[in-house]
Amino acid sequence: MIKVKNLSTSFYGKFVHKNISLNIQEGEIFGILGGSGSGKTTLLRQMIMLDEIQQGSIEIFGYEIKKLKSAQREYIKKNWGVLFQFGALFSSMNVIENIGIMLKENTKLPQDIINDIAYTKLKMVGLDADVGKLYPEELSGGMKKRVAIARSLALDPKILFLDEPTSGLDPYSAKAFDELILELRDMLGLTVVIITHELDTIQNVLDRFTIISEANLVFTGTYDEALKENNGTINKFLNQNKKG
């Protein structure tokens, strides 16, 4: 689904990634882990074409994103959904308009059908229909993220990118959100790429993950494999999380 090949990125002469490669398969929930400032978000932003790729290549759906024509670019963008850390809902629109925006801009469907679709997606992410008429500023952090997921699901994406989906949520909401991600994956057969450092998410949600440390991928594999690994950095990373 996503192939990263020999990717190198540096800012002001300092390497954030040095020659990293990884493969994300269809239908899996893949985690990108690493300490603060380790370049997790940069890697994600390069995948979703927000940051430029300096060296190496990233392939999505078999297209190399550096060499895309604008029509292919549009095609890819309609086939993924991105959840930003704080939801990034459009503050001038209510929840239903936020979820329906892509349908409204890309199709000529009648408004009541768009509303039906939006309300159905809202229920799929576990929110009540009464939330629909509220504005983003009236929502709690967890609700915002749920609405943002509903918005990213509007066009039935094949890949979902989540940037720290459970950070800033209370443990109960975080757990519920983790379950939602699993549920959506099973229901819709999504491929999910998550940036996270919550141990609960790592243990319960991720199929596989990679750890970025000092510009390199020190580990790629499952949680059980990581526990068996006798590497200081990996153990430290997973244990640090336990304490936190």
Partner: protein, 361 residues
């Protein structure tokens, strides 16, 4: 009566538009008996397509007709079930808010009065703080003040210089043209210089400062409120007025006369240039005439207005900044602060103008 509908082809968000029309006609034709949806020729379907089908199934159900689904593949059946359990239909008509003229006028008057009261309270608080700082000058935050002077004054010099030069140029040109009809074009020297010193230069300089500083004060303080810097300062016992507002006011009080003086000179330079090339009056003669006919009180009046304008701009900018409650407010209050500042500048300027003429100053 036709009562079998073939669902065929692609039912995806970009292709269901026409399917919906067919579906709607089918529904409007009021088929009776067993309604059958035949999925045999269905190719691809996404959530949007599925939701449309569910919508019509539900519509038929309200007519006590239960559509039969034929040739539905296992995969599509699961999908149908998934979206059927989540399907929500809600009439999303925006309810027009009831408007009552009296209520609207009353609410708006009350809120205007309230915000005016708050503003007076704010001015009072600042005044008290200001008097306290005057008695204890050591409490003035010199570094912050110098910093604000730097921000407010240095970068504004080129724009003030250029715009006032051009304003002086243009007014003198127009004046010379009109006065030339009376054969008195030389009078343009003292006439345009006087009006420039008394009114135009101080006012235009203040408008430029309002556009720059009032807006930036609102944006800065508003951002600090959102990032909870203001709350943090309050909990540390650091006085907001002393740390944030007094330095800005003092900075503008100091800077405004300097800016106005600079504006006066730039405008005069513009006049000198046009008068030389249009009326052939050399620079020395221009200056001599000013020395002779333009009294010092004209330039002093402009310079005395300047600190007052500065206080006005700083207070409005800071007040609007402190009103910010949430992220989306910043833009709105920044606009408001510039509009308010310019509006009050016009009013205060008119009052001073009237007073000074009445008092023969």
């Amino acid at each position: 009566m036709k009562n079998r509908l073939e669902i065929c082809g692609d039912w995806q968000y970009d292709s269901i538009e026409n399917h919906i029309k067919l579906m709607d006609t089918f529904y409007q034709e009021n088929p009776t008996g067993d309604v059958i949806f035949d999925f045999k020729k269905l190719n691809k379907i996404d959530s949007s397509g599925m939701i449309v089908i569910i919508r019509y199934i539900n519509l038929f159900k309200t007519k006590h007709i239960n559509p039969q689904l034929e040739n539905l593949s296992e995969k599509h059946k699961n999908m149908l079930e998934l979206y059927q359990t989540n399907y929500t239909h809600k009439d999303h008509l925006p309810t027009p808010p009831k408007t009552n003229l009296f209520e609207d006028v009353g609410t708006s008057a009350a809120s205007t009065f309230q915000s005016f009261k708050n503003f007076l309270y704010f001015i009072g608080r600042i005044l008290v703080m200001f008097l306290i700082t005057l008695r204890h000058p050591s409490q003035i935050r010199f570094k912050a003040t110098i910093n604000q002077i730097d921000i407010a004054a240095i970068y504004i010099v080129p724009i003030i210089g250029l715009s006032l030069f051009l304003v002086g140029f243009v007014t003198a040109y127009q004046g010379a043209d009109q006065l030339g009809k009376f054969g008195a074009s030389i009078i343009v020297v003292e006439m345009s210089t006087m009006s420039m010193f008394r009114e135009i230069a101080p006012f235009l300089a203040a408008v430029v400062v309002a556009g720059r500083s009032a807006s930036s004060y609102t944006a800065q303080i508003g951002t600090m409120k959102i990032t909870e810097e203001i709350s943090a300062m309050k909990t540390m016992g650091l006085d907001i007025d002393r740390f944030l507002i007094i330095p800005r006011i003092v900075a503008l009080i100091i800077v405004m006369p300097l800016i106005v003086f600079f504006a006066d000179m730039a405008a005069m330079a513009g006049e000198m240039v046009i008068v030389k090339y249009h009326l052939n009056i050399p620079y020395t003669q221009f200056l001599e005439r000013i020395y002779e006919y333009v009294e010092i009180r004209h330039i002093l009046l402009g310079l005395c207005k300047a600190p007052l304008f500065g206080i006005l701009i700083a207070i409005i900018g800071c007040y609007r900044g402190l009103q910010v409650q949430k992220g989306t407010d910043i833009g709105r209050y920044t606009t408001k602060s510039v509009v308010d500042a310019i509006f009050w500048l016009i009013i205060v300027n008119a009052l001073i103008s009237l007073l000074s003429i009445q008092l023969g100053f």
